[in-house]
Symmetry: C2
């Protein structure tokens, strides 16, 4: 490894540090919210709200946070490119699987509470993003892990990168509309405490800034 590579890697990782800080902050705030202010987290609970709470936790800590880690893998994993690439694929797969469990939780809650599925803008954006994310993973897998010829890889790579970035922000939009839906629901039912409202706002900001810094770590990788 020559000096240029070392300097490049060290510089790129500066932005990923901010992404990690906001990502971890968002997880901590989410946990405080769900465990202290809300009903707790349990998939097999008779209390529908404890089942529901699995959804925001896994959609962020599982899906968005892990896919952000996958995106940053080329800068954060101190290893050879082939290992980074394998981890990029694997982390996205883990994100997808955890996302499925998180989706199951909200459908289970809807069943328990006899609520309609896939009704709100949040659910439309969320489901749409998740389906496209799965398609992007499959295309990526067969193109870059498979035996696709170089010319195909070069053609698909910019779409893979630009599409991945769009999907990252679409996931952030899904998370923030979800938080906003719950926030308005709690507030209008007068069961939102002042401190809880502030905590939810800071959670949303941390999630947004995680997404922004993951994006910047890719967009500025060649410059900083």
């Amino acid at each position: 490894m020559d000096m240029d590579t070392v300097v490049y890697r060290r510089r790129a990782s500066r932005i990923t540090i901010f992404a990690q800080l906001f990502g971890i902050l968002a997880i901590i705030l989410l946990l405080i919210w769900l465990l202290h202010y809300r009903e707790g987290i349990e998939y097999d609970s008779p209390d529908g709200y404890r089942v529901f709470n699995v959804h925001p936790l896994l959609m962020f800590m599982g899906y968005i946070f892990m896919s952000g880690q996958a995106i940053m893998a080329y800068h954060t994993i101190p290893s050879e490119r082939s290992t980074q690439k394998f981890m990029h694929m694997l982390l996205h797969l883990i994100a997808f699987v955890l996302g499925i469990v998180g989706l199951c939780a909200v459908f289970k809650f809807h069943d328990m509470a006899r609520l309609e599925d896939v009704f709100s803008l949040h659910s439309w954006i969320g489901i749409g993003t998740f389906v496209l994310y799965g398609i992007q993973w499959v295309i990526g897998f067969f193109t870059f892990m498979g035996r696709a010829p170089d010319v195909t890889r070069f053609k698909i790579a910019p779409w893979h990168i630009a599409g991945g970035r769009a999907l990252l922000y679409m996931g952030i939009c899904a998370a923030l509309t979800g938080l906003m839906e719950k926030y308005t629901f709690l507030r209008l039912n007068s069961i939102l405490r002042y401190g809880e409202g502030r905590l939810m706002n800071f959670t949303g900001l941390a999630i947004l800034l995680f997404g922004v810094f993951v994006d910047l770590s890719v967009g500025l990788a060649h410059y900083v």
Copy 2:
């Protein structure tokens, strides 16, 4: 102008067509929503809701749509680069001014209805994004329209581009959380008609896809 430039420009404009389609669709849906389902749009009305409705209209049609046009100006305006650059600056300025009027409308509504300002996640994201957008415009103006030396321009350009893209998506997040807040409010107060709910969802999707295609038109400009 050589053939390469012509082909490049024609290809880049393919993606901007999708952005324009979704942008215009979002404006039409917004107008149907505010004029047919809601109370109408009027800044100087004694009806607080008519004043409020100026806010979603100008924040999208003024701020987000115009700033998207500014971002795409390098592909959509068939002129010399210096003209494109001037239009990029001017369209962003128009977006900013219309955004200020849109913000005034919601503060005026809050005064009339005696509601607290800057309370929800939507307002935090919106205000934060708008302030950073103003700062980005000022830095961009003095760097690229002013007499900054080339070395400064080359240093700032990637930050200007990556930061601008992040601000575009932050604006989209603000719009979608705003729609989601209003949606939940109307639904829980049982004043959301079924058709109106669907219309709001499609409006949100059109706004999101406008943002995605504006981003892709920049991210893929050198490839498609």
